[in-house]
Symmetry: C2
Amino acid sequence: MKPTATFIPGPSQIYFTVEDHIRLAFRESVPSISHRSKEFEKIFQSTTESLKVLLGVPPSFHIFFTGSATEVWERAAQNLVNETSFHFVNGAFSLRFFETAKQLGKQPHAYQVEAGNGFINPDVPEGTELIAMIANETSTGVTTSNDFVATVRSKNPSALIITDAVSAVPYQSIDFSIVDSCFFSVQKGFGLPAGLGVWLVNERCIAKAEELQANKKNIGSYHSIPSLLAMAKKNQTPETPNVLGIYLLGMVTEDFLRRGLETIRKETDYKSALLYHALENHSIVKPAVSEKDWRSKTTLVAQTGNLTEKLNSYLESHGLLPGDGYGAAKKTQLRFANFPAHSKEVYEKLVDLIKGFE
Amino acid sequence: MKPTATFIPGPSQIYFTVEDHIRLAFRESVPSISHRSKEFEKIFQSTTESLKVLLGVPPSFHIFFTGSATEVWERAAQNLVNETSFHFVNGAFSLRFFETAKQLGKQPHAYQVEAGNGFINPDVPEGTELIAMIANETSTGVTTSNDFVATVRSKNPSALIITDAVSAVPYQSIDFSIVDSCFFSVQKGFGLPAGLGVWLVNERCIAKAEELQANKKNIGSYHSIPSLLAMAKKNQTPETPNVLGIYLLGMVTEDFLRRGLETIRKETDYKSALLYHALENHSIVKPAVSEKDWRSKTTLVAQTGNLTEKLNSYLESHGLLPGDGYGAAKKTQLRFANFPAHSKEVYEKLVDLIKGFE
């Protein structure tokens, strides 16, 4: 049976307007336009401007497009670190950023906490060049508050701070007055087909990359910050990009602006409260994250133990596809994405089913 | 006026079946499926198997997906070169591969010929690790014959040879018995929306990358050959890829197989003969490449001199959008892609219009 809704945290449920936007794109020949044309520049400009409005990005930030958020781990380590980065690690994705820096020959350090936990200690070694935060750890469903990031910032005024905002935005606000860079991919909270990463950097990031370049460090080629910046200033990209993806991101961002971010946030809060409440009051299934403040509103994880497969099949038999637990938790947890593409109705159906599961 | 056909050599005309394939993809929830699911593995496997059949790729080659062909310039220089590469350069794109190797700290050398020319001298310095060939230089419309590549191979049995096949395939055959790697992007000959690169490597490439890795050389992170290979063996990708793009590539490749590559080649030959004949016999407009053997069948370039803008407007007023000349030739040449997506009828209309242009 084909599911009526998928709760896998990315690729996830596609936002309901996307298919219409693709139809319009074909009618307007968007997939055929040259990436060096005025038409493309208009799409680039319109998408980045809409994103800045939706996410509250100051004008001083630049927006770049990459192939994936995974790519940004590499580009950030190349362009923003000479020697030392420091990583707040509480799951598989924050760990992979750390490992990427190591693979590129940097000397990353990490403060690692158990799966299901958030961070308590904001201390970072002196002299750290780049601090990597994670707004929402998709593998464990743990969120990091802006207050915690603010504490890290106040103790480390000179370090660059980059936030992995994959699966956090647009629900979770990023405080651009305290972070220098953030990145995400479009197949999570934006409900789009995968194949596009978005990377935001401020002037301090640009200065750092230019300094590394001036010192003959290897910062990559076409997707180095200076190369991305030179093209972004013309509303272009160094390579032929995912033009249709950039167009669709702009269209869905405009949809979100029309719907209103406050409405989206209220609905997200409502849906997450519904599911967490059901999990807390369930006789056998529980929230995987015990500390309430750490519980993600966009990626909800249920501790399902040896009933995981049974609950999975039960939900699937009703047309709802949960996400597997990640890695070692594959057989003991289920994950539920709570993105703007997930309607209140489908969440109510999910929660009713879980309540009835014994 | 929205053009009825675009001859820009990529992004170019979209193959006529693509929109239907997207509709089917949405009906089957392809944009929502997890890139770690069996469904995705089936798509990966089916697309790579179809490509191997269409392009005549031996089973020993592996097929990887990247964000673009531009990315492969970087990945190839990182993974296949310790110190020295040698580049056959006859235009902007073969030059950028050379420059990418330089940006990554390699010591590339080049045999560079004038724009509009092909290669005569097959000599390569001894000890070169990687030889970069270009099957079709999109900026100038010059092709490189398999005979020339064979000569280079016979003189350099131990070097790796990589062929930039962007805008060449599927029309132009790649001789996989003499090259070790080739790459292309999908928005040229496959008539697809941009945002996906395809990279083929054999066991010698894998051995080279593993050797560099063993010697602690920086071969990148998620898109290093060992990382791409480990995931490709599971019919997966290291990052969340352009799932829809991989699906569409598979579907269009199957369309091409049904139509038959010989038919596609005959039609390409017919269309290119028609246009070159018209240009040769025209009173004012001429083929830009004087040597017939070097003339590309897939990217035809017209020397249009100070009539460039006039011819451009004339064709556009009839709904046909030519590609600008590249770089310095922007105001003196026009380029015409001749891909499977360009029907015989639209080419006949184009040629009739050019014949009538005075």
